[in-house]
């Protein structure tokens, strides 16, 4: 069976096949344990147990002391591109807006200050450019991923 997952390095195609009780991926093998874990036998001979859980579209996998987040890409689903805006890294509240629309900013300049979990987080300009939009005002709550501001990059 064929699946596609998003990894930090980009999308990866995985095709697994089942023969009897054993699943194959090339020379790697996996069997399903009665407690829902997977016993993985790697081509190198190393083996271990994987614990898995699916939250939304993401498969969370714990294997050999590492935790992986693998988002399953549904066949035919559109690839969400980069929004081009500055997004909230986490849910929180806007504490301060330090720029205005039309303002020219330097790379690294603080544009907005958020508060989340009682800590302050500064939203910085990643490049120099011009602020073209501000979507929140002081005191407003923002969700993770909300586009906070928009700006155009300087051409150099």
């Amino acid at each position: 069976m064929h699946h596609q997952f998003r990894t930090p390095q980009g999308p990866v195609d995985v095709t697994v096949a089942k023969q009897g009780e054993i699943w194959y991926l090339g020379e790697h093998q996996a069997t399903l344990e009665h407690d829902g874990r997977l016993r993985i036998q790697l081509a190198s001979g190393a083996s271990g147990f994987a614990t898995v859980a699916k939250v939304g579209d993401v498969w969370w996998v714990h294997f050999e002391g590492y935790t992986f987040c693998l988002e399953r890409i549904e066949a035919g689903a559109s690839q969400s591109g980069d929004e081009g805006g500055l997004t909230a890294p986490m849910p929180g509240k806007v504490l301060d807006v330090l720029v205005e629309v039309g303002q020219l900013v330097e790379a690294g300049q603080t544009l907005m200050v958020l508060e989340a979990m009682k800590m302050e987080h500064r939203i910085l300009a990643s490049t120099s450019g011009q602020v073209t939009g501000i979507h929140f005002t002081v005191g407003q709550q923002v969700q993770q991923g909300s586009v906070l501001l928009e700006m155009t990059e300087d051409e150099d």
Binding site: V14, W23, I40, T51, H62, T67, F68, V113, M119
Partner: protein, 503 residues
Amino acid sequence: MVSKVLVANRGEIACRILRACKEAGLASVAIYAANDVKSLFVELADQAILLEGDSITETYLNQTQILEIATTTGADALHPGFGFLSERADFARAVSQAGIQWVGPSPNAIEKMGDKMSARITMRDAGVPVIPGEEIETEDEEEALLAIQQASTRVGYPLLLKASSGGGGKGMRVVDRPEDLLEAVRSARREALAAFGDGRIYLERLLTGSKHVEIQILADRHGRTIHLGERECSVQRRHQKVFEEAPCATMTEEIRFAMGKAAVAAAMAVNYEGAGTVEFLLAPSGEFFFLEMNTRIQVEHPVTELITGVDIVREQLRIAAGEPMSCGELHLRGHAIEVRLYAEDAANNFLPAIGPLAVFQPPEGPGIRLDTGVRQGDEVTPNYDPMLAKLIVWAPSRDEALQRMRRALDEFVVLGTVTNIRFLRELCDVTDVIEGTTDTTMIDRLWPDGWSPSPPVEFEDGALMAAAVAESAGLHRPSVSTPGAGVHSGPVSPFLTLKRRYP
């Protein structure tokens, strides 16, 4: 006499205290905000009362409401835990005046030690060296900015801004250059005001290359004030401790003796009662400087418990009840290490993370202790501190404790929320950690551009395979259970009975 304890806290430390109450045969009352209704600590209490209100100020910081609950539930003692109201002298005073025993030192001692400036004066008078620093008393923003600028030239750079009534890294900023001072002060004041309702700022010189070493104190009303040895908590990021151990790897008998003596003197100078911690910076030269005294139980108290065999929370309850502390002569035995598990993305500048705890499987086996306020199925929300659990190990030697910690962290499975487990695991392989030569700047020095995991490709293949097989095998779909007798969609049948035969 103490017979019923109200725990004015939440999460992991509330669980720790409520369990101690149960063991001591004391009745307990938990207080909780609406968003904590399903939290573990609420379950562990004999009685749990809902706090009205939404924000932390209206709930866990609401002195009037909490005191009212304590009175109406008939609690005769109140344990504040750490954070929240634990170092608020006015609250301690109000509690005592209501005839309820405060589990902690007198309001006077909290005032003297809680205020960084008077603590410094007290310590200087007790003959303990203090770090160069100044406090800015004024509350007015513009006046404060001016005063801070003047003070900064006397204190010197690099310097550290701290909230006067702070803790936990909140309201704290490192300033390397004079031109960064103003923005740092504004932001530190704002954070301090939001977290503690007090915008006063304290400046001190940043001593680089030093270890953070602290002494645990216990004092009772029968004239006994002792120390329980030291803890080292140098490994910090954003001034939050992440890796703590006891004893300190480079401690000598001479330094421990001198530091312990200074800490006991400090406690006695304010007629201290209960458990407290005196924090020091230990310079590479062996000189040490007083940092601050925490007049409450501390997050990292378990490492001291494991090497001394003293149950510090139980002693707090005993001392509050007016009894003498129960511990006799102390012997430090073996080595203990604690790591703090945070719901945070270490690979993304340690930003707090949220999500469900779809899987939460702590390690087991010899020498392992887990202090947590969550369990599998809980949701991590942005409402409170992102600390999920404290994993503590004990072993006869430091090497073995590190080996045990590595094993425990490898076994720890948390899925659904990003945690710092892998980061903590890799800390255990850092040369400075292995050799015990950690200092407070280690994390920033080792990972100036942030940390990110780098699993071997082979493991990534294994994980991808696991996800593909799990998806193919339909592991994400809840298993369909055969509807047996008693599963109805309509009204409950009156014929359902519990069939139990008694011989």
